[in-house]
């Protein structure tokens, strides 16, 4: 049993990181129907800016705050410069634009920062908690707490606040949203800022566990995207569940079956789920309108 518990802890830790990335995907998708493949770069920026600000002598908390704010600004810039001008483009063009953005941001990061791997200390030390023969690091709890907190905040945002409902309305029908007086430009700006900030927060929380470097974004975006699709794109609940599920799946496969094929197992499950539920676990079913 301690093994199982350890595997679950591992899965939770990793899954919470995926979930945070997936949650970032959710907001932009909800506002604009764009899956932002540069989401992983937001995570990278969160980690890297914190590392370098911290190394420059700022206290960790302040460095993290700066990283999140700066990434949010970059997110807004991405929207204004690349996504807004391409509105209405087909899915495949949007995929290429956001992948282009991710390559661009990675290139900038490698120049502004460096190509080395970095880390900053865990918030509450590295002494693990021991529960039932298994262990979990305090930083893992930070990540999990971060994931849950962002989820709750988003859930409240989308269901309880007027602004959140405006975001959803914009995604449903942009024109109609404009007609009822929603400033859709502002909604887009807000969504990208929020999304980027959540990505950066993920980077800040996860870096003590995952380490960071200019190119960590690729793998994170891939897993986060997969998690979001598994859960059903656009649904915060789907992002959270999809992320955690993916993490646990990988950990259990590594623990019980084969660590070689743990990533393969994750993708096989995603494929199977999509075959049975083409909109993911919690995605909205769409009926064809003709």
């Amino acid at each position: 049993m301690p093994e199982l518990l350890q595997f679950l802890f591992s899965g939770l830790t990793v899954g919470a990181v995926y979930a945070l990335v997936a949650l970032g995907f959710t907001i932009i998708y909800n506002a604009s129907d764009v899956v932002n493949f540069a989401q992983g770069e937001f995570v990278m920026l969160g980690g890297m800016i914190t590392v370098f600000a911290h190394a420059a002598g700022l206290p960790l908390l302040l460095a993290a705050g700066i990283a999140i704010a700066a990434t949010a600004v970059i997110g807004v810039a991405l929207n204004k410069l690349a996504i807004e001008p391409a509105r209405g483009a087909p899915v495949v063009s949007l995929i290429i634009i956001t992948i282009g953005a991710s390559i661009f941001l990675r290139g900038v990061a490698s120049l502004v920062f460096d190509k080395q791997i970095h880390r900053f200390p865990a918030f509450s030390g590295d002494a693990p908690f021991r529960i039932g023969g298994a262990t979990i690091l305090p930083q893992s709890l930070w990540v999990i707490a971060g994931g849950v907190a962002v989820f709750i905040a988003l859930w409240l945002f989308f269901t309880r606040t007027l602004t959140g409902k405006a975001v959803l309305a914009t995604s449903n029908n942009r024109l109609a949203a404009q007609l009822v007086g929603i400033n859709t430009n502002w909604v887009m700006t807000l969504s990208f800022a929020l999304s980027a900030a959540i990505g950066a927060l993920a980077g800040v929380l996860a870096t003590p566990i995952t380490n960071t470097s200019y190119d960590v974004g690729i793998a994170l975006a891939l897993k986060g995207f997969a998690a979001a699709m598994l859960g059903g794109m656009g649904n915060p609940k789907g992002a959270l569940v999809g992320g955690i599920l993916l993490g646990i799946l990988e950990a259990l496969t590594a623990g019980y079956l084969s660590s070689q094929y743990k990533d393969a197992a994750a993708f096989i499950v995603i494929l199977l789920v999509l075959f049975i539920m083409p909109q993911g676990l919690f995605g909205a079913r769409q009926t064809e309108r003709v």
Binding site: T287, E288, R289, V290
Partner: protein, 260 residues
């Protein structure tokens, strides 16, 4: 003559909302049956169920004596059912001519290898389809626009292109969803005549249309829907006098039409 298309107790719900309930009627070859009713009465939904786009919740669709309920649209097309759409479904990425040729898909298509290597058989089939398509385009007055991108056509022309495409299948049953919408009086009359002509050739036509003058003029039979239920049925004269219909929907316009 026996019924070509028979609809029995057809119904469907969307998330608890009953969109169509217990609707039934039948059409014979050469007949024009119009389905009318206020917006949201369930006309298009009914069409979508008959043409296999929505799976009916209950009831049956019988085509030429066979139960075809919920059958895929492409298989229905093989059985001679063809349709147009209220919100145009044009292949915007193709030329007008290609749109019309696409209507010949069932007679045009052969093996993939023949297509890849441009074998003589495939070329002959394409040629035949092209000739048929050109003739149809001429019939709807679009032959001069054959090589233009379909996306650049006006609404009225697109409506006619869709009818041409539907006719290319050489259907036994034709479903027309508001063919005259957005057309001016002259165009409406042309469409009107074309529909009558098609019906005369023995095609059973199912029509949804808001232009009551047209409906009253060409229908052999009318079914009235309101809130998903059939509230009246009969020939134009009978329906237009039906008090329930008048109060539910038709009003003065129909009375005028009946007088005329």
């Amino acid at each position: 003559m026996s019924d070509l298309l028979r609809v029995e107790n057809l119904g469907i719900s969307f998330g608890g909302l009953r969109a169509v309930n217990q609707v039934g009627f039948s059409v014979k070859p050469g007949e024009i049956l119009s389905v009318i009713g206020p917006n949201g009465a369930g006309k298009t939904t009914l069409f979508n169920m008959i043409s296999g786009i929505y799976m009916p919740g209950d009831g049956r669709v019988v085509l030429n004596g066979d139960d075809v309920t919920g059958m895929r649209p492409d298989l229905l097309a093989r059985r001679g059912l063809s349709r147009t759409f209220q919100n145009l479904q044009i292949f915007q990425n193709m030329t007008v001519l290609d749109n019309a040729i696409a209507g010949y898909h069932l007679t045009e298509s052969g093996s993939l290898l023949a297509d890849l290597f441009r074998l003589p058989g495939a070329r002959a089939r394409v040629r035949a389809a092209r000739e048929g398509a050109m003739a149809l385009l001429a019939r709807v007055g679009l032959d001069r626009a054959a090589e233009t991108e379909a996306g650049s056509l006006s609404y009225g022309k697109l409506k006619r292109l869709e009818i041409a495409r539907a006719l290319a299948l050489d259907p036994k049953v034709l479903l027309l969803d508001e063919p005259a919408a957005g057309c001016n009086a002259v165009e409406t009359e042309e469409i009107d005549q074309m529909i009558a002509e098609v019906a005369r050739s023995g095609v059973a036509i199912l029509l949804v249309e808001h232009d009551m003058k047209m409906v009253m003029r060409i229908s052999s039979h009318i079914v009235v829907l309101d809130h998903g239920e059939k509230i009246a049925e009969g020939d134009p004269a009978t329906v237009s006098r039906d008090p329930q219909v008048i109060s539910a929907y038709l009003g003065t316009e129909a009375a005028e039409a009946a007088d005329a």
